[in-house]
């Protein structure tokens, strides 16, 4: 009703204003031609000029909106009753989790001591990504802030005319319990880290948890680390994508010399495994020396260019001299420009070219040296493996998860299947067995690849990049866990991944068949 009244009232303004403008112009035209009293007519014409000046000044203010808003923002510290009233009085939309159930909301309103406040039920578990904590409105890494305009947009047509319209709910793909458990496990580890879970068929983020306070950038998106042996998946993908043989025996000595000056790369624990068969044989025990041999052999057979192109497709930007700091390609599928601008991860990257020497080539094969990745970057790569080689842009918005994009094929389907098989084998009888125990008696399986990345002067970082398969053997979720100083990957990272997978299996997001 109010909305309709206000529309009609605006029409009255416009009709009367237009009528006045018409009358003024008509009178002036006639008076200018006929009147002998020139000065009053000139003054009248001056009034019309002033009306033009007013219009220009008003339009100028509207055009300078960003500048003025920035100025207001700067001076807000000296008091701004309007901001106070609007912030305190507003009713933003709720942030619903993957179940769409109000009771599971990530952000909602609740009464506390007689006041209705915006609350974040998972507390600090979401502070680094979702919202909450002190000065929640000022931080700009959270969904709460970056989707602010969306959450404040009137919920429906009728709300448009209200002085304080109720905002529109935001349905997130994130699942509250999985996120909470992931954070809890990270917190228990006492180490900085992040867990990202994606639906491999939609790209939707099902869980994101990271350590770090409300004021720190999200670790899973902004922090670089070498990927360690997780990168052997990429090497294997290149191998299989280029039709190199599956069953080739590859030597797996305890160490291998990588340059003329005697630099060597060793296996974890200095184990000599003799020979392994093909990439899967290399992946299961995570044999470093076999990976180096494979990388050299593949380069000898196909050259450097297929490597460079493949890594680019996998989301690892190749560079020769200056490392890229911005990924121009869109990472997220999102309706929020602010989100896209602020939360696009630092680009995963590696220094590679035809001129890369054999030692550096060897280092890259095991995810060391000039390779920098983010947890989000690895998660997207694992999602592509789980989705038959088609990479999808990640999203946190249910509306996009319901209608996933076509995505981009980054590897052949057979390559993806071989990688999935190898990952299952890694967890079944390789370095990732620590993840298996968490699934217990469920008929679901988890596959993955562990990674232990060495960083000079620090404890090894631990990685586990896994895929969760339903009872029919179809990959459903990717689970990537990173623990800074928490290596080896088969230890805590694998266990955390298994725990989070168990939560999603027990209480699966809508659309996932439990059996």
């Amino acid at each position: 009703m109010d909305f309709v009244i206000n529309v009609l009232l605006r029409v009255v303004w416009l009709v009367l204003g237009a009528g006045a403008a018409f009358g003024v112009v008509r009178w002036l035209r006639r008076a200018w031609r006929e009147s002998e009293e020139r000065w009053t007519v000139r003054i009248s014409a001056g009034m019309l000029v002033l009306a033009g000046v007013y219009t220009a000044a008003h339009v100028r203010l509207l055009a300078q909106r960003d500048t003025i808003e920035a100025g207001r923002e700067a001076y807000a510290v000296f008091g701004d009753p309007r901001r106070t009233e609007m912030r305190r009085g507003e009713v933003r939309g709720w942030m619903l989790d993957c179940t769409g159930n109000d009771a599971n909301a990530f952000a909602m309103y609740q009464e506390r001591d007689g006041l209705i406040e915006r609350v974040y039920p998972i507390g600090e578990a979401g502070a680094n990504f979702i919202g909450g904590g002190e000065h929640a409105d000022e931080r700009d890494y959270t969904i709460e802030t970056l989707f602010g305009p969306e959450l404040r947009r009137p919920a429906n047509f009728l709300e448009l005319g209200e002085p304080h319209s109720a905002g529109r709910d935001l349905e997130l793909t994130l699942c509250r319990e999985a996120t909470r458990v992931a954070y809890e496990r990270l917190r228990q580890s006492g180490l900085p880290g992040a867990v990202i879970v994606q639906d491999v068929h939609t790209g939707a983020l099902l869980a994101y948890a990271a350590t770090g306070g409300p004021d720190t950038p999200p670790l899973g998106i902004k922090r670089y680390s070498p990927p360690g042996s997780v990168f052997k998946l990429a090497l294997s993908a290149v191998w299989w994508d280029n039709n190199l043989p599956d069953d080739i025996p590859i030597p797996c000595p305890s160490s291998i010399q990588v340059n003329a000056r005697g630099a060597r790369i060793s296996n974890s624990g200095g184990v000599d495994r003799g020979e392994v068969i093909g990439p899967e044989g290399m992946l299961v025990p995570s044999c470093n020396t076999a990976a180096v041999a494979m990388a050299w052999e593949a380069r000898r057979r196909i050259g450097s260019e297929p490597f460079i192109n493949a890594y680019r497709r996998f989301g690892f930007l190749p560079y020769e001299v200056t490392p890229p700091t911005v990924d121009s390609a869109g990472f997220w599928r999102t309706s929020s420009d602010a989100w896209s601008r602020r939360m696009t991860p630092a680009p995963s990257r590696l220094r590679i070219s035809a001129a890369t020497d054999s030692a550096e080539w060897a280092q890259m094969a095991i995810g060391q040296g000039p390779v920098d990745v983010t947890v989000a970057g690895i998660s997207r790569f694992i999602q592509a493996i789980g989705n038959g080689g088609v990479m999808l842009p990640p999203t946190v918005e249910t509306r996009f998860a319901i209608r996933p994009s076509q995505g981009e094929r980054v590897m052949r389907e057979t390559t993806a299947e071989k990688l999935q098989h190898a990952m299952l084998a890694v967890v079944d009888h390789g370095t990732g067995t620590g993840a298996r125990a968490q699934l217990g008696s469920t008929r679901w399986r988890i596959g993955g690849k562990t990674g232990t990345a060495q960083v000079a002067g620090q404890r090894d970082n631990g990685w586990f990049a896994g895929l969760v398969f339903d009872p029919q053997g179809i990959p459903r979720f990717s689970v990537v866990t990173f623990l800074e100083g928490g290596g080896p990957g088969g230890g805590q990272p694998a266990a955390i991944s298994g725990t989070v997978a168990r939560v999603l299996i027990t209480d699966p997001p809508p659309g996932t068949d439990r059996n």
Partner: protein
Amino acid sequence: MKNFFRRTPDNGTGPRGVSIRVRRHNRPAREKASEQRGISRQLGIAVILASLFYLAAHYAIVTGIWPVHGSAPGADNLLMRDGIAWAAWLLLFPALYLTGYRGVWGIIALPVIIFFLTRPSLFQLFTDPVYQTRGSARIEANTLKADRARVTTILRVYDEERRQLVFGETGVPATPAPAEAVTEAAAEATRSLSPGAVLPVIVAPIALLLGYLVARHRGVLRWFRDHRQLPFVITLGGFFILTLFFVELGRVGGTTPWELFLPVFVAVWAAVLADDSYNLARPGGVLTLRRFGAMLLYGAMPIVPFLIIRELGLSVVLAGSFATMLLVGTRREWWAGVMLAVWIVLVVAAFNLDDRSATRLQLAINPYRDFSEMTEAETRSWAARMHQFKLFDANVLEGGLLGEGAGRGHPETAPNAADDGYITTIAANWGLLGTISLVMLYTAFIIQMLSVATRERSAFERSLVTGLAMLIAIPFWMAALGGVRAAPLTGVATAFAAHGGAKLLAASLSIGVIAAVSHRRANAARFEAAAESMHGDPDDRGIRIL
């Protein structure tokens, strides 16, 4: 009343003792127009539309805003006052019709339309529980208002299941009442509804009618012209006494009666110009001691008290009105050159010598100065000065193109949103297009007043109407352009569109006088036309219409 919305011109009317019968088809359309008494159909429809707007906007505020924000104590009385004002302004039209008004209806209808369109916005401000509070009470009331808004919005929108999650077992809490919870705020708000603040809105239509009824008798204006010294001395003397002994922070007993003096000074100046326009039109004629002294006495002296009480805005209004009257009265371009030069000198002097003026100019140009280059004390001082501007800007931005609707937006958070920043309040409610409409309506109103001056043959009446029109026009432009930072903000009140009881009364009275002048000219034109159709040019026949 059947001819109120004119459809058929009446025939056969004329001065007592003279029977004139003119065949309709023999008279030019222009003269027929001057004979017609009722308001034109277009204007009538515009007034009706505006009056319906007034009612609907008040309704939208009372039903849509009050439950959300709460209302100030006495808001019901204010609603009643606005209802009476609505009736009073509408009754003005039949009253004028019944008294035989034949002048330009636009000068009556347009200010009423402007009043009807803008008053709801002011009504919302004055019934807001926070707007009239000050200091810490304002902060507290603002907080309570926001809390209330959140609770009421949730209660309005959320279903039972969601309410259960929000309120839990304790149930819905009591809705905060901002004004009642802040004693000081309540007291302030009540004060604003004192008779002094309430009456002008209701009395203004009566003042207009009285101004018209009194001034339409030719003898009244003639007496004033012939005896200008008396009202001048009384008004100026009273003005000086008030400024020297009774002014406290620019106010006398909480009111600003200065606006009521301005029409008197304008009328006196019109009389001076009318009596001496021939000499004032010659550069040589001006430079005599007697004439120069008269200009100083009647043209400059009234401005002095305004400078004493540092009412720079009103001094500009008065000086601008005098200058315009001089131009119209003498019809000499060189006066425009002289005054432009004087104006430039005064502006440069003011902005260089007067800190307050310089600050206002800086605020208009860029209120958001980079405070990284200022000391902490300077920053705090500047932040206090620009506080109002940043909120006015926020009003403009919030309104965007079409505004938020009646009473919507948050203009009440800006200090003086009903006075200095009224145009930004309109912008918040009705957006860019709404304010442009208001500007066009006001421009039409001013031009309608000037059209009366254009048609007037008597030098005194012409200058008087021009001056009175400028008393209304100049403040409007100063406030409108100041609100959007196209000019320094001076704090002068805009008649009919902004808060200001004295200004409303003075403007209504002035319009009454202008209406009287217009009415007499229309009557004179009518008789001239009638006489001409019978005997040729009345001047040639020695006929004089009184």
